[in-house]
Symmetry: C2
């Protein structure tokens, strides 16, 4: 295989296997090329990935060494993406009764969801994460997008147990905004003890649902490795119960009467260098 | 930019924009190269994409022409993937009370879900699809995976309306297996009239839920462009009410007493050439 041909297939392979250690001998055998040629190929790929804000190749040295493709957005790209998202969310057409914002269209765009996933993966790149967790329904696409770039599985907590899930562990929690007692369940066999779990959700107000997920993780003797939410909103009535989280955007003000929404970037951008 | 460098970034660009028409002048300007060089690059990429079962580049000629990356699995790869899936599903550990099969672990693996998505996208490649639809909860990751490769948005029907969704259209349908009357809702603004909709779900027995989605689409004056389910199961009591669908696997027999499960490939493989 010629270098030009190898670069196409190696680029695809790396993009398709994020954060997976790939050894030089693997590439060398698969594409029938000397290790020195493979090294040069990887150098070109690494340079281009960085230039185009795709991520970078991490070199792991030693006998069991190789390279890992780490997906990452540049600061510049991240800022422009988040700004664009804020602008789209400020559209007064999104206003729903009760001061809620319609976001399902954005969350229905696979490209937007993938970008959000890559941003969270960039921000949590330094955390050790075994699994991504969310609660049904709206957080699901985001959780998969993040998990896809972190190359870890997803587990989904539900508000109601289902027969097709087997035995579950359930907890009760207080929804921060409505003060109602709610239930959350997770299938027993879906999560191993000591797993390091990244919690992802679409929306956080006081943080009741996130706290519910944290409590559920405690039942499994699992560890909360991080918390990421797409949008956080201020809650006047309640003190926020969750503090150590990253948000992509912050809904500052929803003025139902004057049809005005103010959305600004969350604290996630500070984590991207 | 040198050819070797261009091949890396063009490969990434195409993979990131499936089924999107990209003009030669776009590549030529973005990467500062003659159109003839870009043409040669695309030739190499096309050849390698086909060789590695990634898909192919479709050439659209004329003034508004260019290339489109069409994700596609080869017959060989598709067969081996489906066989592997069948083997994993036949594990007696998956048996749940009532003859249900535990599948959440498979559906929690982003790589597996992406592969399933690419298989459906390959099988429905010749259909005109504007949007992918599913019903919460388990079909959601599959719907996003398919939509991602078809480069179209996702809409999610729910079994209960939510305040954060705005006004909805609701229908009642009869669940084929349990004979219970159920409700399904879809947000009014999520789907345009005349949309061509690909329905994706994780599981089908008699087909009541799928029929519910079809009825919901009729309320929106939308068109069912295709139906894809991950697993179909035989239903002894009921006649199947849905016929024109593609399934990845078929659960032939679940023997609760002897702890045996028989899973074979569905009719989707026949569509892959």
């Amino acid at each position: 295989m010629k270098r030009s041909e190898r670069l196409v297939v190696m680029t695809h392979y790396l993009l398709d296997h994020p954060r997976e250690l790939v050894s030089l001998p693997f590439f060398s055998e698969t594409y029938q090329a000397a290790k020195s040629s493979i090294s040069e190929d990887l150098g070109i790929i690494n340079q281009m990935f960085q230039k185009e804000s795709i991520g970078y190749l991490q070199t792991v040295s030693g006998a069991a060494g190789g390279v890992k493709y780490i997906p990452q957005f540049s600061k510049e790209y991240s800022e422009s993406f988040v700004n664009q998202l804020c602008n789209r969310l400020e559209d007064p057409e999104r206003l729903l009764p009760g001061g809620y914002l319609f976001m399902s269209d954005l969350l229905g765009e696979p490209q937007t969801v993938r970008n959000i996933g890559r941003l969270f993966a960039s921000a949590f790149a330094d955390k050790e994460v075994d699994v991504v967790m969310t609660v049904a329904t709206k957080g699901i696409p985001l959780a998969y997008a993040v998990a896809s770039y972190l190359n870890v599985p997803v587990v989904i907590a539900r508000r109601d147990p289902k027969v097709t899930e087997g035995s579950t562990v359930s907890i009760n929690y207080v929804s921060g905004s409505t003060r109602k007692i709610q239930t959350m369940v997770l299938t027993k066999r879906s999560l191993q003890e000591k797993s390091r779990v990244l919690i992802i959700d679409d929306f956080m107000k006081a943080g009741g649902t996130i706290t519910g997920m944290k409590n559920l993780l405690e039942e499994f003797n699992a560890i909360t490795a991080g918390i990421g939410v797409l949008a956080e909103a201020e809650d006047e009535e309640e003190e926020r119960v969750v503090h150590d989280y990253l948000s992509l955007v912050q809904i500052i003000n929803v003025d139902d009467r004057n049809k005005q929404i103010k959305v600004t970037n969350g604290n996630l951008l500070d984590k991207i260098t």
